[in-house]
Symmetry: C2
Subunit: 428 residues, 2 copies
């Protein structure tokens, strides 16, 4: 019975979760793999720092090579974050014959293809369940449970910070800045929240999901994205009156020969299961050609949920180690016949602020018509002020065509502002 | 590169799904396992029967031994249903060194422990993802993705027929018999619906889930269960007025040293994600000590969703075959310190029909009080008739204590009927 030894790179939030889970659930974990297991060494920046965790100081080190080059260590667990240093350490680990588990979405989204090839070359395993959706088993479901399916569509809420903010705005009529401050106070948003609220974090995760589900490599930078900073509580109220909730959706879908994807604030019908995903929770809706519709829901972040996914990956590798390991990483299946489209056509919700004069609506409607954009509905919510909201829901249109029309509409002297442009998805 | 051959026992609804998925997704499937794959022989009762599927007649046989004893066949897929014959065929398959995939909840719930031991003895794999929740990856999630967790609670909607009926009753104000007939017409209920509507099917599945999640073997017969036949559209209406939906829940949870479980119609708060699981959909809520709350949602039945899970299992076994297989079945982890309780304490919804006389409510309330049952709320929905509904929601009480009180309440000559007894779960 092999005794399995682990090297941990990083002892922040996720690293502590990994330590606590292995300590607290030791019986369960060791019974599952049929071996004993031990975290032998942990890389930290400062050994003397006070930590609210029972890790013996002797196993801490500031020298990564003491871990990566230790011949007794079987598995390296990278939970330090960042991109380039983490990338270097993972490569070095492979070269030293170590299997690697990482929770690092940025490094997988940016260098996943290179790491995949390297793992294959060195005959070791690379697992990254925790990089998307925290403790929710998204990667395992897509790569294993749904292996019999061609995936047609993914659409989900994969950033907990923005979902928490949107939920607070919706349930307690806060504006964006109030809700952001509350999220920061509660630890759901970072001091610098840019990556979350501008949709970059979601784009990293969507890039990983696209490669896992469709076998297509799209860099996070190539994903059309918009954050939630421009959403007002008025938008949330109007959307609600129309029967929708506003969610930051990440989506990718095959439509005939086209492949579309985006990260964008979107109106979701109120009775759709995604509309009831609240606060810091995440959910991913998957459509496969055999399984039909599937949804996975849970906590997308946090020390213990993310640690749950990391330790799950560690244990799968333990089971591999105990057999005669041959590389079991999954060859992404390339569907080379698809046209890479980006965000494709959609219905849109346009919130304009206009002067309440006769003829303004007609003028705007004519401009839409000139650009071949037809309207599903128009709603005017107030009257008589200097600036009144006028809400349009369009039929399906390409974004750049919409932008041309809006550019012209903005020139109209009775139009004060194009306050919001949101997608509308009438998810079947 | 090994060519993998499969023997299929049964070509009903699920068998056809398995055939269609392997045919339609052949490129994806073969790329995933890195081998070619073929269904070599299929056991049927009648070779000449007309089937709406492109299976060549030459591969059909009525002799199970032609499949089970074929030395070329690697994997036997049992999708014929029933209990004892299926059990015999699976045992014979193991003895012939075959790995087995089954979608048969009855055989796994009844003989899972024996089959698990036999698979271990013969060094082969047994997989049964499709036995619970159709295409939803419940078994994989519990056994693999959540392997780092101790599971504290499972609660779910795991029977699509009853959920379809309850949804129709709720959304279209049908009574039970109307909704059942519609379900039969749509193919969601069998000609003899007993097993579904009386909760037997859910008890089979819960028995499997309990063994997989908690390592405890509870026979389906030992699970306290009640079906949905006594639920009236009035109950659904009253529940709705109180902020609840009625769902047939299957649940199992650890409470300190006790282990509780049941299949029972239950009031679920309307904003809980389980309340929005409609029609034939299934969902399972899981609470693990690391991951927190997780929910899996999808189609719990049907040819293609169930086939998706069966083929997923086949492909995992293919990957095992390609390595040097050592038994990888999961040893259930026995938590022997738990007291097996059955359904434990709960809040209850009691719908009584009474004569509208002064003093009736007081009399009933006193009887509850005599049995130490305190009431959370009492609602009287109508006045002045011979029979008026009087609804009680109790605080937490043991079921047998409640039954004693209700027995005495029934003796009251102004109580016409105890119309319904439903659980209330204020799922956190």
């Amino acid at each position: 019975m092999k005794h399995i030894k682990i090297g941990l790179l990083g002892l922040g939030n996720i690293g502590k979760g990994v330590w606590n889970i292995i300590e607290n659930n030791k019986n369960k974990v060791e019974s599952y793999i049929g071996s004993s297991i031990e975290i032998k060494k942990i890389l930290v920046r400062d050994i003397q720092k006070n930590r609210d965790i029972s890790v013996p100081k002797e196993i801490l080190t500031t020298d990564p090579n003491k871990i990566i080059q230790d011949p007794e260590i079987d598995i390296i667990v990278e939970v330090m974050g960042g991109i380039d240093t983490a990338f270097e350490y993972i490569k070095e680990s492979f070269k030293n014959g170590k299997h690697v588990v990482t929770a690092n979405k940025a490094v997988i989204a940016t260098y996943g293809d290179i790491l995949y090839e390297l793992a294959k070359k060195y005959g070791v395993a690379l697992r990254y369940e925790a990089s998307v959706g925290g403790g929710i088993p998204i990667i395992n479901t897509l790569t294993q449970s749904l292996s019999a399916n061609k995936i047609d569509e993914l659409v989900g809420i994969i950033n907990g910070t923005t979902n928490y903010i949107l939920t607070q705005m919706s349930d307690f009529e806060m504006d964006f800045n109030e809700a952001l401050k509350l999220a920061q106070k509660k630890g759901y948003a970072e001091a610098d929240p840019t990556s979350d609220i501008e949709g970059e974090d979601a784009a990293f995760k969507l890039s990983i999901l696209i490669s896992v589900a469709f076998g297509i490599r799209i860099s996070p930078n190539e994903i059309p994205r918009e954050g939630i900073t421009k959403i007002s509580k008025k938008d949330i109220e109007y959307a609600s009156q129309l029967g929708y909730k506003i969610k930051l959706l990440a989506a990718a879908k095959k439509l005939d020969k086209n492949f579309e994807f985006y990260v964008h604030p979107t109106l979701v019908p109120i009775h759709h299961p995604l509309a009831s995903v609240s606060n810091e929770f995440n959910a991913l809706f998957i459509r496969g050609n055999a399984v039909g519709e599937l949804m996975l829901y849970g906590k997308g972040a946090g020390s213990m949920p993310t640690g749950s996914a990391v330790v799950g990956d560690i244990l799968e590798i333990c089971k591999i180690i105990k057999t005669d390991y041959k590389n079991q990483s999954i060859d992404p299946f390339k569907e080379i016949n698809l046209n890479i489209i980006g965000e494709g056509i959609s219905q849109y919700y346009i919130h304009t602020e206009v002067v309440d004069k006769p003829g303004v609506l007609g003028k705007i409607a004519s401009t839409f018509s000139k650009y071949n954009i037809s309207l599903e509905s128009v709603v005017q919510r107030a009257r008589g002020n200097q600036s009144v909201p006028l809400i349009f829901i369009t039929h399906e249109v390409e974004r750049n065509q919409l932008d041309k029309a809006l550019e012209e509409i903005k020139q109209n002297r009775f139009v004060n502002e194009i306050a919001s442009i949101l997608r509308v998805e009438n998810l079947s």
